[in-house]
Subunit: 112 residues, 2 copies
């Protein structure tokens, strides 16, 4: 975004794009779900074990939100017991490098 | 972050750093405050005019939070009327390139 944008109130479009960024990464668990999936396809149970502090209800809700945003996809297998797998969509994998560098924003501000 | 980190529950330290990232950029207005300041020093009134949809109370509260996180600094001038200016700290300016590329996360997911 060129600096000239910044001298006037941020263009409407820029704000909407940034709001979409915040939809994808903000919230207590969304970013961690995305990074724990990464390039992998993971079963629901696997994701739950990787994120022991998340309640079932919250994890299911956040997975649904990320699917509706187009970042995640879900595949269900009609087996007994039923198997459900999650992975990043192609567009989701496309932003993985940016997600993997988000720690660079917080790192300088850690209270060591 | 190496992928081996991702096979086991994300290391404690990585999580804390990402939480700090989310502290800095999440919330309805924080990222917009940071990007509207950018490399500039701006008066409080100027910031308010750039962000007409923010209430006075919320803007003051978010500015305080960003100061306590160490991303912003405030300078008051004992003039009549009093003058207050805000700018990014040196560390804050250090993460500006990362903040300026956050739109790359949301851009592929816009409903055009």
């Amino acid at each position: 975004m060129k600096d000239s944008n910044r001298d006037v109130t941020m263009a409407e479009r820029d704000q909407l794009v940034l709001r979409r960024t915040l939809d994808i990464i903000c919230g207590k668990w969304r970013l961690f779900i995305l990074l724990n999936l990464g390039e992998h396809t993971r079963r629901y149970g696997e994701l739950r074990r990787m994120m022991p502090d998340v309640s079932e209800k919250v994890l299911i809700q956040e997975l649904k939100s990320l699917i509706s945003l187009g970042v995640l996809e879900k595949e269900s297998f009609s087996e007994v017991p039923p198997r459900v797998e999650y992975r990043l969509t192609t567009k989701g994998r496309g932003i993985l490098p940016h997600l993997n560098s988000l720690h660079l924003i917080g790192a300088p501000f850690m209270e060591d």
